[in-house]
Symmetry: C2
Subunit: 382 residues, 2 copies
């Protein structure tokens, strides 16, 4: 069996390690320290920095294919690895668009994918010109952002000035008064096979994903197919290997705008572990190994799956609350990432696979109650 190496030791690598066990693929992780989420559970862990060509190259030397749990490996390291013959999946040509939001926007616009209106901006005056007096406006760091970091919704020139004072390279985007947020997750293999999961609804609070409902309730098949088609089209045009998550806005007029791209397992796909025939982690491994892709069909047709992220609360000793949650709902699936429960930090998620015909509000509620109880010791928390 081939050896897959994943750069990054976070929860995505942790859950990929779990999927690799069944698949029979040998799995290695390059983690920053031995206490990282994936490093705690993976048999073969290398410790090193994803910012060091030496560390990444020596890790890659023990792998048949290299992939990633984040998008922070510098582009010059990726191209150096590729030049030396390492199979980097996805490749540097695709990954650069996850590291440069301006290039991503330009490229998407160039191939006709609908995006929010945007412009690079270098001064408060340029942002004011961009807004044309219509506030708020969204500023995004061109690189380095995640989980709401690097994104600012500004309601005044003063707020813009505060963001610009950090000296980051930013772009301005129109504030989209979206109806809701959706995500389309697809996989693509080097052989060109594509596979699309059901389109999901995501709920973000302060830029952090809090809930995912699969499939997106009440989404027309026209819009669902359109979201899947745009994701598959982007994956093919960028020659993505592995997963591509496309975050979308559903506009009040019933259209779609592409918000963000990620080329790895994605929080919007955690529901697939129990909710789909093939988990996104297994699918990513299949894709980077150029194995035939697995079925993206729901595990139980005719029902909803709800995923709620588990954030740290004020009492880090979660175990007693865990027991109560398990007792309250024997079908709740709690996933812990092995992370210390610091306030607001993503430390796990819970999944409820609803019965066919079970009301989506009830399924969401079960997931939300479990996550709230784990966080705060009450089912009525946020």
């Amino acid at each position: 069996m081939p050896v897959v190496g994943m750069v990054g030791g976070g929860q995505l690598a942790r859950m990929t390690a779990q999927a690799a066990i069944g698949l029979g693929a040998t799995f290695r992780v390059l983690a920053g320290s031995d206490s990282e989420s994936a490093a705690l559970v993976t048999h073969d862990v290398a410790i090193g920095s994803h910012l060091s060509l030496d560390d990444v190259a020596s890790f890659a030397a023990g792998c048949d294919v290299l992939t990633f749990d984040h998008e922070h490996v510098p582009g010059d390291i990726l191209t150096a690895l590729e030049s030396s013959g390492v199979l980097v999946r996805p490749g540097s040509g695709a990954l650069r668009f996850t590291q440069d939001k301006l290039a991503m926007r330009d490229w998407l616009t160039g191939i006709g994918v609908p995006c929010p209106r945007y412009a690079p901006v270098a001064s408060v005056a340029e942002v004011e010109t961009f807004t044309g007096g219509s506030w708020p406006v969204v500023l995004k760091a061109v690189s380095g952002g995640y989980d709401g970091k690097g994104v600012w919704v500004c309601s005044s020139a003063a707020e813009v000035a505060e963001v610009m004072s950090h000296g980051l390279s930013v772009l301005a985007e129109e504030f989209v008064p979206f109806r809701r947020e959706l995500a389309a997750l697809v996989a693509r293999s080097p052989s060109g096979q594509g596979a699309a999961y059901p389109v999901v609804q995501t709920v973000q609070v302060d830029g952090i994903c809090r809930e995912v409902i699969a499939p997106a309730p009440g989404l027309s098949s026209r819009l669902a197919e359109s979201a899947q088609a745009v994701a598959l089209r982007i994956a093919a045009a960028l020659d993505v290997t592995g997963l591509l998550a496309v975050e979308l806005f559903e506009t009040p007029g019933g259209g779609l705008l592409v918000n963000e791209l990620a080329m790895r397992p994605h929080n919007s796909g955690h529901w697939t572990i129990e909710g789909a025939r093939t988990s996104q982690f297994e699918q990513h491994l299949r894709a980077v190994l150029d194995l035939p892709l697995g079925s993206c069909a729901p595990a139980a047709a005719g029902g909803f799956t709800a995923m709620a992220n588990l954030l740290g609360g004020t009492d880090p000793d979660i175990y007693d609350r865990y027991i109560h949650v398990m007792a309250a709902d024997p079908a709740v699936k709690v996933h812990f990432y092995g992370k210390e429960a610091r306030l607001g930090r993503k430390i796990g998620h819970v999944t409820i696979v609803g019965a066919p015909g079970e009301d989506v509000a009830a399924v969401r509620d079960r997931a939300r109650r479990a996550a709230s109880y784990l966080r705060w010791g009450t089912e009525e928390g946020d």
Copy 2:
């Protein structure tokens, strides 16, 4: 989170390691060598012998609770650990019945559980007396057997003499002309909570489990409940902690006879990874940690799940065949154990979760075809 240590590095420990990742339990394995199935994928592996009190005790010192992937740890080691305060789950009082089939038969008969007629035998003459001239007869080694090893179906005194010549301690059992074999898998926690999976049909060839169908097709609810009840009753009476698998014969008259017991995750429960809300591996961990037990409900109600064991064929290079199997059925789930594909050796299993209403023969066929192709390169093998 507590630390669970499992003695034994086989595929059951491997799949338990996988379940522990999601559950957030810290998991350690005591393996005989670093090439054993579970040792290949578990982060925290100790190498040592399950026959050495020193090795097991020093392993146990790093664990909050000790459990097992096989029943071969000698009883005196188990009692010594218990005397020194180690939480051994299941305990020595229960485990001794998996190591001594005669004691198990006597105990089951004593509490009124229906078993095949049996007797301890020390000579060919005693076996002939037992048979009363009615052949065949089943001889079983009192201890140490597994996967058909230690069980002989003898059709003549000469065959009995051959078995007896090995000098093993054996018992004789009536040959039951069963309609089919069933298995009832239950879990029990130290708090006394019990949970029962749907009763399955198992298909054995040469004493090796080849197929499992969940739930057992056409089984009356009366018989299903009776099988679950007997398993829960045995678990409670023996004070079992963790899983208890009860292998049963369904007799031509529509009755049940208990064939074997196992107190660990069991081959008849591999289907639960995809086919049930809670996998048997997660359930075993929950039970030994005295966490509330998970739902045993099918993942998709109204359908069948089929599991086929994957045995080694004559060509150990399985990867090309793997690709074909994945391409032929995107919903097939193949689980590899990381073992060399020697002829006839259990090296993995495949699972098909059928759609609600899908014909059970079709579901079985999908699993069997995949396993056959992986083994022989043809869907028409055994």
